[in-house]
Symmetry: C2
Subunit: 301 residues, 2 copies
């Protein structure tokens, strides 16, 4: 399964980055191959980080594949497999974040990964959408596309994964969701190893569905006009994105604690960001409407 | 001691913010009084956040006083007093961060605080400097001024507090210090309650010394010319500042976990920030020199 998972994440990286270049029309991805070996020889790995900067549509976009192995510290092993000891792990995954110039086009993030810790194996992943100016039909389209991919495997998947996404991408100190959600799943197959091939197929389908969930929104919103105040609002909302990733995101924490490659982990951070003390959106504005939407539970399909 | 500590931090806030307005010449602090009471009645508090935005010299500056009390969760109580249970706490402090427009003027942060957890009381605090373009004599001046304040009380203070500052303001995932350090102390008086009045005097002197350590650098560097590339470098270095504060800073973590006031806690974040994938400074440049300085241990006085 290791080999199949690695090939899957590499294929998704190639397909998604090629599609993004085609949509952008100007920006191209720079390939940055990297390897990582620590002195003890316990940890190793490498990957390919593809980064686009200042394209026509995307201010920054990154699609990273990594394959790492080593020993987990006992505290992490306790959390993952319930045994507190140095534990061998292997992880491979693709993760991506796209930050458009236009505040009318949402940011998106997706991640599909395969892990082995000692004798356990599982898949995790998901995709979520972070709009700055919201058209509700865009959130509906994003969710519906992912729901269709889920429903083909298990009718319980979408409701469960949607809920977990809402729970995961939440900033308690703001009382806000990071965005309008999507799907999030983890430990899939961990207690059900004979089902891993079927789960592999689901992850493959979810990965394939990601572009269909996002690109139509880019096409729809790329001609929407925007002004400097709307750009300022986007930069402030990107601040929330940074807060989530550095305060709460498990992928970031896992990466930094396992001596991962900093630049590839923090590639998710937006290129330009602002913080403004105690910003309050004008009453009745689209900015206020967004914040209200992110402050309450919502079913999109 | 509670009353004395509160008055001290309020006085420091007033003096420091008045001096900063005088230096800036254009910017003024807006006062934002706030209170915080949770539904259970277990937690309460309030404070005054003073914020300057877009002054002549300072892009943003904040000086916050807070006074909060409540119950600590057992996990935090374990860390602080070695007893795992709900523990009553009281905390008051002043904290400040100044972000100048010019990349030639360093950012600075200082914080002086008094805590009571059950029957324990202590002071903590410190001050540190984060330059973007470094004149070594500025770092020397900053350290020497703080050292003089320390030496008047205990010759062991400065070497200990300088070392703890270096250890604390460190980004392991970057292999870099946040800046050129300063002093950092905590739990002062916790195991030595009869010495608290003397420690109060030290904190008062350290607080008074802060302006003398920083303002001469502002005067010296405010006429240095700078260009857009140097501004870009500052924005990227501010990204490191954000990474430290959200990934490692105990004040931020403590504040957010004790249901503190988000806007006042995150006031420390810079107004405008950038991330650029895998930035490398030109060989032999001042940017490279800064990063080398931050990557190794250094005694300044």
């Amino acid at each position: 399964m290791k080999e199949r998972a690695l090939i899957l994440v590499q294929r998704l990286q190639a397909e998604i980055s090629a599609a993004l270049e085609a949509v952008d029309g100007e920006g191209t991805f720079i390939d940055d191959y990297w390897t990582r070996v620590d002195k003890s020889g316990d940890h190793g790995g490498g990957g390919l980080t593809k980064v686009m900067r200042n394209g026509r549509i995307f201010e920054s976009a990154g699609v990273n594949v990594s394959e790492v192995h080593g020993l987990l510290p006992p505290s992490m092993s306790q959390k993952l497999i319930g045994e507190e000891r140095d534990a061998k792990f292997y992880a491979t995954g693709v993760s991506l974040v796209f930050h458009p110039h236009s505040p009318m086009i949402p940011t998106t993030h997706a991640n599909f990964r395969y892990l082995e810790v000692e004798s356990y194996s599982w898949f995790g992943g998901g995709a979520d959408l972070t709009p700055y100016y919201l058209w509700e039909e865009d959130a509906v389209h994003f969710h519906r596309t992912l729901k269709n991919a889920c429903d083909a495997f298990d009718p319980e998947y979408y409701p469960n994964f949607k809920k977990r996404c809402d729970e995961y991408f939440y900033l308690p100190h703001r009382g806000e969701a990071r965005g309008v959600g999507g799907i999030f799943f983890d430990y899939l197959g961990k207690d059900d190893p004979e089902n891993l091939p079927e789960i592999y197929s689901f992850v493959e389908q979810a990965g394939e569905a990601f572009l269909d969930s996002y690109l139509p929104i880019v096409h729809l919103r790329s001609d929407e006009p925007w002004d400097e105040n709307q750009k300022k609002f986007q930069l402030m909302r990107r601040g929330r994105y940074v807060e989530f990733n550095l305060l709460y995101d498990r992928g970031t924490t896992f990466g930094l604690k396992t001596n991962g490659r900093t630049e590839s982990i923090l590639m998710s951070l937006p290129p330009n960001v602002s913080w403004e003390y105690n910003y309050q959106p004008p009453a009745g504005s689209r900015e206020e409407a967004l914040i209200q939407t992110l402050s309450q539970h919502r079913e999109w399909v």
